[in-house]
Symmetry: D2
Subunit: 347 residues, 4 copies
């Protein structure tokens, strides 16, 4: 078993890490960190548990420690659910000695830090060697993208490989859990929506291209098409929905797109990684699917569900579809875990 | 006073007609129709009133009649809140003798039936003469577009006049009231959204261009750019929100767009029509506005509120913005009423 | 394996029956009925599946038949998820030849039809013999109470056995699923609640006492205290919450009440029935629990979760607590199944 | 015009004060206070406005000052929307020189501070003289009760005057606005409810009796029946709903109760105070009313709407009914304003 720690273990994403790792066949949770306020408490006493499954027994009595490398001993991997500013300060310290699989945005766009979705760009892990050399670390940092970006990019990958994408427009309807437990007041979202999520559009517009970029001699060149996003918060607990419009360079057949989605498999599927969904993309044929409540848990929340895959009736080189991805599983904790599983398998 | 009737007076849009007309300075409600089941009852007994203002006293005792021209005497204008299939059968009969201001979709795309937003294309009313000649009617039908289309097209009009629009992508987040009181079960929308609304995308894609089309010798030639829509239902009671992406042919300044929105006025404003908003488009500068609950009632629900008006950081000839319009006021009952006010004023 | 059929298999409760029975160790689904409209279709084609788990493979291809005993062959037990009026007509016909475990209210208060919660009053099954004699049936009908009544009565049973209950006041906050998929329009419940559920208060007030009544020589004498209910619908998908106020005849200790709840076990627990929760009543000690979303799935939705168990600070012989029970599992499909498991085990 | 200040003017209740006072015929807003962070800013810049009407023009440019009597000059009355702990420190200072009409709970149960609902116990204002004497203040403090208590007590007052109340059980379903804008996270209330509101039950159980108590020689003796409350938060923006069960000492007729509700009038009605509702209690006869979204704004939010007024079918000396009151208008800002109007009129 690999010893793993969770940084920021009491927040929404931290809780998902615990839920997903509690019965992991290869990773064993041996350290949990949180803010100073929680340090020294049993996890069960430190956390306000918000998931509708129970706190796993294996962590109930674990003593929470401060998020400080000196407090976290004998772990091989730490999963980071830290806020961005804390992550920027702390993750590099952890990376001196262990693997940091981070869901934080702080280091994502650093040129020597791999931003990876295992089904999309596992080859970007080549940056690790450069990162270690550059920084003199024994460990390293690997990051996963923002929740909305992950679901979108998984669906773009097979299209990018087979068609010439010219432009992508994406409009999101994002779940409140993405903002953390206290992030969206009920006064803001009952009989309402909020058409703005700070920095989210920037992330979708840059991370997507980075993920689909080529790596050559240790340098990632982002994909050269453009992505334009408009991001909105709606009254849904979990599961981001995205309406995608793609301009291709050429005409295409919808059936080819569906085949492309349907047969898509990445390295995690080939390696049979524990958290890998059987199919990264699941297609629904009903008119009114995917829906977040109905589809977010597809394949334990690790598959992206697409529907309404259709040729644009107006622009004949355009494709439209809807996708749903679970924002705190496939889009956060599960993403970091899958990164770690891949690294653990191939490195 | 002009005597008016309301066809389909007990439904959601019918109730809005009553609410908006109850204290109208020029129109007096003298007839209410509904299905046979309700005929013969006092309006107060026939309706299950769903608005949060009260049933106006002036209609409480009005006897509801069947939706049949023989039952509706001495009215000059009828407002139609009928379902599309009934409208197709009944509106032509009413048009033989009176003005039909219809919110139904049945006749919207008929070549001799004006589809009008008074601020956008009042000149399309020229079709009336042709319609009457073609069909031998003493009255006529004038229609307003679908709720989502109205709000979008009001914002496109000043841009269309000043810039070269190449393409429009629009992603909607629509209120449940648009489907009628029983249209969206709570089981479908609590902790969920439904990424599909039957025929809505078609309507937005065709009606918008029709509205912005030129009329010449009695023929409307639709505008020649393209509109692609993706329509979704969210947990909001009233007020449709739309995320708009526009590709212009040329570069532009955001300030010019804002000025264009801000100074936009149409014929209803010039004529001072009773239901005309002071400004058809109101701009909000906050990051997180417009929001449906906060902005839907702007200027009695007749203004469209736009926000996040920004140049696309990715595509430099592209504009992005968010809009909110009240779907059952500006997008339905209020739209028909404004059409009738315009006709009453100029014809 | 016992062959079972489900009457009304396409509705909300029908779907729960299928979900719960699909992997049942002793019951095998061999017949599914629905209205004539669905008869002849494969189940997967006949149903609009609303649960967030998938349609079990074992029923996908089952041909749905009309709800008619002549159409349902070779079943030992039928589970009835029929509406009350249909149930009144059809269940007696099925009971001529097989066991009817019914969730419908039609026959609940018939003097020779047992109304049973297995943990509460299994001895009422003695009515079966009388029922068969009275009616000349080879089969029989056994019913479970209304969803709100079940959860309440499970918590009252250990108190009734140990304390002298004088009066019970109960105020419910019920989930929308209780009204069926289309039962509560979103327009009725977003930013709102509905303080009325037809006949629900009557059912709680009569069924509870019937369940706690003594059976003697084939006659059930209802318990003699009084229950007064006020029933309300709130914006929750699944899980009824009830605020309970109990007037005891005598003073009591809260700890004794908690012990009474905690150690409560019934015949299903003793017999180890498949669907029996380990503990029928689970106590939460947090200030703000139970909550429907967090607690409804306790022990696969078959346990009732109580919290805020407290002595009334005002009336010193009074107890107050909150309970949550899953209305379509413990309160409907799971209740009928547990009845059938008990009958299958002991008869 | 009377010069008034608002303490805590940027919060939810502070905003309601401004909304209600902006066009008041006798009170003119001349001072606004908030925390130090906001001091020195224009009100429009200091506030995040959450109401769906606009910030009144008259306060937009008012400079917000620190909540300190030295900063608030030349006001006759201050309305306090302060949190309880701040109120305890600051209100006595303001009371040295001006009238404090407080919505805070800090001073409510002080023996010489009147806790008043003008329709219920205006005679408790006699405590003012004692308060001033006791404390040596030129001004004084008058408080209104907690939001849930106000609505309940208004309905109890006519019953208390006419019938012998033995016990009251009340179960609330309270709106999220009662907890302040950030008080209830959406994660807590979407598809959920929270069956606990800190200290709310205590307040309802004590304040109600205080309000209905007799004052004699400067001492209020609380009413001698008992009130037992269970308080719950549901997904409603504004408007508290309460299910009330009353045990009377004697049998009664429902019609007498309804008459009692219907004809109830208090001093504010007799004096024609500006904010007084025409009828403090409005009865709805529909089965499913009152509902918070439909009824909270009755008579500008100042009336309490009751419905389902019925004799308990189980306990023949018992009454049951449902009430809805607007928690931030009748239950908070409007309550303080009505207190001030009464004082301004009679003292």
């Amino acid at each position: 078993m690999v010893n793993v720690g969770i940084l920021g273990a009491t927040g929404m994403v931290g809780q998902r890490f615990i839920q997903l790792l509690a019965e992991h066949p290869k990773f064993e949770i041996t350290a949990l960190t949180a803010s100073k306020r929680s340090a020294g408490k049993r996890y069960e006493d430190a956390v306000t548990w918000h998931l509708d499954t129970k706190i796993p027994d294996v962590v109930k009595d674990t003593l929470v420690v401060d998020t400080d490398p000196n407090e976290v001993k004998d772990v091989d991997i730490v999963f980071s659910a830290l806020p961005s500013d804390t992550a920027a300060l702390v993750e590099p310290k952890f990376a001196q000695s262990c693997i940091v699989a981070s869901n934080a945005s702080a280091m994502r766009m650093e040129p020597d830090v791999p931003l990876v979705i295992p089904e999309v760009n596992p080859e970007h892990l080549d940056l690790i060697e450069i990162q270690q050399k550059n920084r003199g670390w024994d460990g390293f940092i690997v990051t996963n993208p923002n929740c909305s970006t992950i679901a979108l990019t998984i669906t773009l990958k097979p299209l990018y490989d087979q068609f010439n994408i010219k432009r992508v427009y994406v409009s999101t309807m994002q779940a409140v859990s993405g903002a953390g437990y206290n992030g969206v007041p009920s006064m803001a979202i009952v009989d309402n929506l909020v058409p703005f999520i700070g920095e989210e559009e920037d992330k979708m517009e840059s991370e997507t291209l980075q993920l689909l970029g080529d790596i050559d001699e240790g340098v990632v060149t982002p994909a050269s098409f453009g992505v334009s996003a408009s991001c909105h918060r709606v009254s849904v607990l979990d599961g981001h929905t995205e309406a995608v419009f793609i301009e291709f360079e050429d005409k295409f057949e919808v059936d080819d797109v569906k085949k492309s989605f349907s047969k898509f498999q990445g390295l995690p599927q080939k390696l049979g990684l524990f958290s890998a969904p059987q199919k990264p993309i699941v297609i629904r044929e009903e008119d009114d699917r995917p829906q977040p409540r109905m589809d977010r848990n597809e394949d334990k929340g690790m598959a992206v569900v697409v529907g309404r895959v259709r040729k644009d009736p107006v622009f004949d080189k355009n494709l439209k579809y809807i996708l749903v991805g679970h924002n705190t599983i496939r889009g956060a904790a599960g993403a970091s875990i899958l990164n770690a599983e891949l690294i653990n398998e191939i490195m």
